[in-house]
Symmetry: C2
Subunit: 576 residues, 2 copies
């Protein structure tokens, strides 16, 4: 009924028509997300607000930045991209995030939390400098609002002398329920919203930063949203404004309303709680270790459930800390507790660990403190695309002194590495993908810098592989190569730092092939290449080439970006 309706068409519609449109948009979102997978709950909460924004503002002339970006589906449906939804988050298909490359309606790509206000300020300042006449809007959830970047951006609103609209989309959830004083403050503002409804209320903190505060309103009430945005649009000529709205995550789909955390991101097919994987090994093992050693504490930046930490958080609430989407603060909290004799475990997605890079160097490693970093979703993560691939961690961790970097071959070895970490007494990072899909036999005793021969060869070629995905490809490649008569040695290179030099030196006669689910530049293979650089030895590095990795299926992306078993096998056959 409303196929590919645009913002321009919206403007001539009645409130009744717009309300019907909202219902249809909601149905479409459910249909497409159930079909293709994607972010459901946050998008269902954003329908009315987004329709109101398109009704009141003129996109793409006006600019909108969605923080993190999960909640942009209605915006995409209203900007000529409905046809793309059948390919949502698929290879070559519509992105789950705002993408400049995709549409003029997306002015700034997002993916990581807290960037929207800074970006809105930069865009607004550019507008002022070039004499442009349009509005700039940042839409940010209460979860992202915990990130320090927001404070940095707020702090520079006045010095930058520009006007923006920040919409706080308050649904009480990050991926986990939102924590922290700022969220408590938002709740205080919301508490008596009932009686003060529609009255202009004061919010001291925001006014100090130079915003006029307008809230709290029901963000799922279309008429109210339109009225507020119309009034605010006038104000933006002279003033920056915060609009604080409450929305219901999962609105209109009862399963999501009841399970907002589990349905934050879902796979294709019926929405369901995702199966437990490496994260569940972490949760189970850490809970077990926590019973033996009361110095063990766990820290997460708003992802307790998806990192598998629920069992630990339930059993040891006093030793479990969710600090909100604050990866830097989380890292220092770990370092400082370690400085006082605790054994902190910081669990985090690989892509978000990039936020902690400086603190890993300065706070954890230069003080040589026993923090264990559990890096989940390492390697290609798939459908979220460029901003979420965990393909940099081996490269950025390799040059950090005092750090040990481990990559388990499978979940049993991961559990053994966690056991090992308890009394290791030094900074340790363990990286692993989401899914446990392979198993490679009994676990060899875990000692730092020791590898394991998984399969003996004939001495002509050895594959050094990091992690289960790389090892699986090594086996497939070896099998292919064996048809040409070469028996390939396969080594579980389970420590990227330190290297197993004894084993490396024993391989001097072989051609060496390295395989890792990481960028080639600066990763495991580059350490091996450098190790043998002066030895006139053949080393071939299989890792990802120098480009961003788009969205798609994990296996197809691994094949296409440089890790196909065929290419490994071909190299071996032609090289020995």
């Amino acid at each position: 009924m409303f196929e590919n309706i645009t913002g321009a068409q919206l403007k001539s519609m009645s409130l009744g028509g717009l309300t019907a449109l909202c219902e249809e948009l909601r149905k479409k979102i459910i249909k497409y997300v159930v079909q293709n997978g994607g972010h459901l709950s946050s998008n269902l909460g954003m329908v009315e607000l987004t329709v109101a924004l398109h009704y009141v503002f003129d996109f793409p002339k006006d600019k909108i930045i969605f923080d993190v970006g999960h909640q942009c589906y209605t915006h995409k449906l209203l900007s000529g991209r409905e046809d793309g939804f059948t390919t949502l988050r698929k290879r070559g298909g519509l992105s789950g995030f705002p993408k400049r490359e995709e549409s003029a309606f997306d002015c700034y790509n997002t993916g990581h939390a807290g960037t929207s206000v800074s970006a809105a300020l930069g865009i607004a300042k550019a507008r002022d400098l070039s004499g442009g006449d349009y509005d700039v809007i940042a839409v940010i959830g209460d979860g992202s609002f915990n990130n320090g970047l927001v404070y940095e951006a707020f702090n520079s609103l006045k010095p930058l002398k520009t006007n923006i609209l920040v919409i706080i989309n308050d649904n009480g959830m990050s991926i986990s329920p939102t924590v922290g004083s700022m969220h408590e403050y938002l709740e205080v503002l919301s508490a008596d919203a009932e009686e003060q409804y529609h009255k202009n209320r004061r919010a001291g903190i925001f006014e100090k930063f130079g915003f006029e505060y307008d809230g709290v309103y029901d963000g799922n009430d279309l008429a109210v949203m339109i009225e507020r945005l119309k009034e605010i649009r006038e104000k933006l000529k002279t003033q920056s404004v915060i609009l604080h709205v409450l929305t219901k995550k999962g609105k209109g789909y009862s399963f999501c309303e009841e399970h907002p955390e589990a349905t934050h991101g879902i796979g294709a097919g019926k929405p369901s709680v995702p199966a437990v994987e490496y994260s569940s090994v972490l949760g189970e093992k850490l809970t077990e270790l926590g019973a033996k050693d009361e110095k063990i504490v766990a820290v997460t930046a708003a992802m307790t459930g998806s990192l598998g930490l629920n069992p630990f958080f339930e059993k040891y609430p006093e030793r479990a800390f969710d600090v909100g989407i604050c990866e830097e603060h989380a890292t220092i909290l770990c370092a400082s507790m370690a400085a006082e004799g605790y054994k902190p475990y910081y669990a985090v997605y690989s892509t978000f660990l990039q936020r902690s890079f400086d603190e890993i160097i300065i706070d954890i490693c230069s003080q040589n403190l026993p923090v264990t970093i559990c890096i989940d979703r390492a390697g290609i993560s798939g459908a979220d695309g460029e901003t979420h691939q965990g393909v940099f961690d081996l490269s950025f961790l390799a040059p950090v002194p005092n750090l040990t970097v481990a990559v388990p071959k499978d979940k049993d070895e991961f559990a053994a590495m966690l056991e090992f970490s308890k009394d290791y007494g030094k900074p340790l990072a363990i990286r692993y993908p989401r899914a446990c899909t392979h198993s490679f036999g009994p676990v060899k005793k875990v000692e730092a810098g020791t590898w394991e021969i998984l399969k003996e060869g004939d001495g002509r070629a050895a594959i050094l592989a990091c992690g289960e995905r790389a090892i699986a490809r090594a086996f497939t490649a070896a099998e292919k190569a064996e048809k040409s008569g070469v028996r390939v040695c396969i080594i579980n290179a389970r420590f990227v730092k330190p290297l197993d030099k004894k084993m490396l030196d024993a391989l001097k006669e072989s051609v060496i092939i390295t395989v890792e689910d990481n960028m080639a530049a600066g990763g495991f293979g580059s350490l091996i290449a450098e190790y043998f650089a002066d030895a006139k030895k053949r080393v071939k590095v299989f890792g990802y080439a120098d480009s961003f990795i788009e969205q798609g299926g994990i296996d197809e992306l691994m094949d296409d970006y440089g890790l196909s078993a065929e290419s490994i096998a071909d190299y071996i056959i032609k090289s020995v």
Copy 2:
């Protein structure tokens, strides 16, 4: 008169005695810093507050964390380290920062801004968990207070349910004068301090986060400081407190009071404004480019002067942005202005760029936006030690797709690279040390991915060197090697990304030696090692080995950590 006085001895002294002690400490700081170099102004401002802290609290049982750490000299003088001051910031000598390795009085190492409140929370939480009974204090300047980390830490005070004291040492300065709304708010709180003096005043923002606010007081008034701290110490049993004090940067030394920015950090000898160096080339050239192209904007995180940006800021104030110590926000501001057609230049010290790592990947490079990052103080920076060496940037930038990384051979080439950057249209990083000490002839036209042969060889060995320090060592090494009859080719490897593959391929007969003022792991040499890994070619990487680099003279550190010209020459002689 007060040689090596300790906190314990302090407690029995009269106010008169303590006042005399302050004067003597101030004299000592001036004497030692003028002798050895160091941070002068911030330390002179902190004398009375630190004496009061030692008088009231029991260190090292109580714990104190100095944010950034420049201001800890009085604390060091009062904790048995006076003898070390003759070696302040020298190789093997007393650190200019708090150092756990140095004294039990230093509980947490600092160096980068904004970490102290997070660290205090972690330490306090560890205390609570283990049933300890001591106080935890973070001392933070108003400059660091702009950093988002502080907000993240404040935001988790209530959920962590622990008590700390945060002392805001408000002197109106970062290295540059402090900017931003939070600082403006601190000023508002200070404005009527005169009339409200000694009265308990309210500060809504801080109370929202769970602190009791106590301020504003004269931090250079010893009696007031003692009185406040005594009262606060009692309160800390049940409550977290912010103590807001005003101090005078450079207090008691008129040259410093008049030139607080120039005397923030000074070299040995008479305090003076540091000589201009690479930073002055940046300032001059960028101002020149700014006249030709009004799309050029400059961004800094509180270091306008030390990065050389003053001329640009003075000439184009509307296109110049100091956002305070907010490296992440600064990076996104650049990316978003670039998204709207501007050409942002983000100038920053190498060590602080680590804070922008995620935003370089996600905001600048995954959107392929034309931001030029000018990385100052790259390579070993010397006397500040482990937390300030700029030795990771080539490693962490190498794996980032879409990024071009340039390293000028000297200041003329730096100017040419800046000229080149104006219309390059893609993400570009240029890294350089502080001092221009060498010059290597006329500049070959700058094109991305092109190198320059500085000296032809006899085909047996080629040194690929990045940046003036590495090139200088290459020449010295080549000279030594020539005595053994080998004529070494020297190449100015001025682009680390992309590599000059044409030139590399032409070198196939030579032994390759790479030299860089950066970690060996993941740096320039590792890219070369990987490039030739499959070619049975000898490559030798000279970069820093896998350890943190302590404080010292730049040349001695370069020699000792892996870049001595002798070791390069020796390798060449024995390898060809």
